[in-house]
Amino acid sequence: MAMFESLSEKLTNAFARLRGKGKLTESDVSDAMREIRMALLEADVNFKVVKEFVAKVKERAIGQEVMETLNPGQMVVKIVYEELTALMGGENAKLEIAERPPTIIMLCGLQGAGKTTHAAKLALKLKKEGKKPLMVAADIYRPAAIKQLEVMGQKVDVPVFSMGDKVSPVEIVRGGFTYAAENHRDVILVDTAGRLHIDEELMGELQQIKSVLNPHEILLVVDAMTGQDAVTVAEHFNEKLGITGVILTKLDGDTRGGAALSVRQVTGQPIKFVGVGEKVEALEPFHPDRMAQRILNMGDVLTLIEKAQEQIDQKQAEEMARKMMKAEFDFEDFLEQMRAMKRMGPLQDLLKMIPGLGAQMKDINIDEKEMAHIEAMILSMTPKERRHPDIINVRRRERIAKGAGRPIAEVHRLMKQFEQSKKMIKQLGVMDKMMKKKGKGKGFPKLPGLGGGFPGPFGKR
């Protein structure tokens, strides 16, 4: 269906006729903005949020960045993707845990959003982290809601406090608080009844619960399939309660999930978790970059970014190449590269973008954990050590290992690998020079430390 033609395709088409013009005018960019607007609306991002967003992207697009590049369409996609990711906030925000227990977490939201299920999922997650949660059944309205929470409690083996459906929710949470204290439960999860954000009476009830409990987290549970109304709902709940975060549910469906952007935008609060199934384990941290890709419906977004990246990185890569040929390459450079990669999202996807590597890297399996260890070790070096790896003697290695909390053997390995790759890079550099002399080949944009020679965290599957 034409409707699902991806944004990148549309943008590429929109810009195709501009090719060779050299400079983008405001009206050229407007065409592209129309496509972006449509794509976001189709993904259910709220109308007003789209307006603001597009204005922002437009500003960036008519700027310097775009005009310098060869393919403005790709560049604009990149800007949209970056802005979307940025807008949806920092990489997975964590739950606020009280210094003095109990930590109190309250779940609220519209009817049918998934509060009860997510109370149980959170309870399980916290239990696995060594906490002793208690769930409190404060939905006295929906038939069998209490029973539902009790069954879920059994499933995850977490106690459920209830007082039946004849007692007010405010009384119930008071009782739950006392029960938690007496039974040494250190997290209290309150499951509240679903309600409309415009129901004054029931919203008042939530405010009362809040003032009684003083929760550390008030999480708004939002169905990922929500349409334009997500903004109104989030605004109301936030205004009345001051929410601290969002759980986005039912993301295992095929919705594009534009509500994520809307809710984040109007509340300013982070999406902390996403629900990805009916099973009690189906809870994941939220990743803004993945959500951005999903909203844009662009399986090929990364490919496009790759191309755009190729152009941007050219200068940077040349500088790097110069350093390498002089064998100046040090741990600072290495760290910089690693961080650049991290910022750009999941490594697997990123590898495909590495200029000059692309396809051949496809079967390579990356251990992100090991990457984190390497980073920790480099960070434990002093700036001087990073710039002059030669001075890193055994005593220094011991200190680095301790600082990074890694075994000394790993530091030895890192040093060895670094030396090897440096050597290899130098050789490559020489080769590259020769190639250039012969007038063949392109620059030298291979990413150091990642090419064939550097074993480290990259092993074949």
């Binding site: 349409g227 334009q228 109304d229 469906g253 919705t255």
Partner: protein, 308 residues
């Protein structure tokens, strides 16, 4: 209280919330110009009608304006409303009833849209307003306490519930229900099913099986397959309808939660692209909060300005 009154009541509750939504469509004393068309398109999009269908509607509107030679802004909105209502199918179709034996209605939809609640309300409506004898079957054997929930609704509506335990084969429960309804001479059997996302192949296959099994007892069953859609849902409702229709042969839609601030405009796109009629709407959690669908009233609410 009629649907529109109830909606008005609901809208009154929303106070300022709604006011800024569509009030901008001031059509009086205005010329018909590009800006006005744009505002109407925006109103549709903000009501979840979706970009594609909204553009299509505005295109038709332009044609009508030309054909009828309209000039004044205030003439525009009524034509727009007409076009939307046309898309929704201006006739309100009643439920299909079996010529003899029990009418079997299979209720399906994604998680949390209001299937069980709608069944409770529908049982009440069919019994009280149409004097039919109604039976329920608890074929959501998956979600915790779903059976208890339906039992409560059975009690409220004063109708019997056929059930097995949690974890039982839903097709077997549905079969029991159809058999009991036929043998005991009930007019209508409403089958509750577990919520399932339409992209889960296994769960959708389960629906196919339920249908197959009840057809062993009553070959024409189900006489209606009612898809419950949540008015809060955005464009995904089109995909839901498409897939539930493919697998379960959806014949009608119930649109719930219209008592909130969501307009439920996605059903316009659903009717346009999937041609499944809306037959009922849910406007609250009480037993009498179900109304037959009225396209004209729905469209009025879609363009409502909060001052209704």
């Amino acid at each position: 209280m009629g649907f529109f009154d109830r909606l008005k009541e609901g809208l009154a509750k929303t106070k300022a919330a709604l006011v800024d939504k569509v009030t901008s469509i001031m059509t009086v004393f205005r010329k018909i110009d590009e800006e006005l068309f744009e505002e109407l398109e925006e109103a549709l999009i903000q009501g979840d009608v979706g970009v594609e269908t909204s553009m299509k509607l505005v295109e038709s509107l332009r044609k009508e304006v030309r054909a009828r030679g309209l000039k004044n802004g205030e003439e525009l909105l009524p034509v727009m409303k007409e076009l939307v209502a046309d898309m929704l199918g201006s006739e309100v179709e009643p439920l299909m009833m079996a010529p003899s034996g029990p009418t079997v209605i299979l209720v399906v939809g994604v998680n949390g849209v209001g299937k069980t609640t709608t069944i409770g309300k529908l049982a009440h409506h069919l019994k009280e307003d149409r004097g039919l004898s109604v039976m329920l079957a608890a074929a959501d054997t998956f979600r915790a306490a779903a059976i208890d929930q339906l039992m409560v609704w059975g009690e409220r509506a004063g109708v019997p519930v056929v059930a097995q335990g949690e974890g039982a084969d839903p097709a077997a429960v549905a079969f029991d229900g159809v058999k009991a309804a036929r043998e005991q001479g009930y007019d209508v059997l409403l089958i509750d099913t577990a919520g399932r996302l339409h992209n889960k192949v296994n769960l959708m296959e389960e629906l196919r099986k339920i249908k197959r099994v009840i057809q062993k007892e009553v070959p024409e069953a189900p006489h209606e397959t009612l898809l419950v859609l949540d008015a809060t849902t955005g464009q995904n409702a089109v995909q839901q309808t498409k897939l539930f229709k493919e697998v379960a042969g959806v014949t009608a839609i119930a649109l719930t939660k219209l008592d909130g601030t969501a307009k439920g405009g996605v059903v316009v796109a659903v009717c346009d692209q999937e041609s499944v009629p809306v037959k009922y709407i849910g406007v609250g959690e009480r037993i009498d909060d179900l109304q037959p669908f009225d396209p004209t009233a729905f469209v009025d609410a879609l363009f409502a300005t909060g001052k209704v």
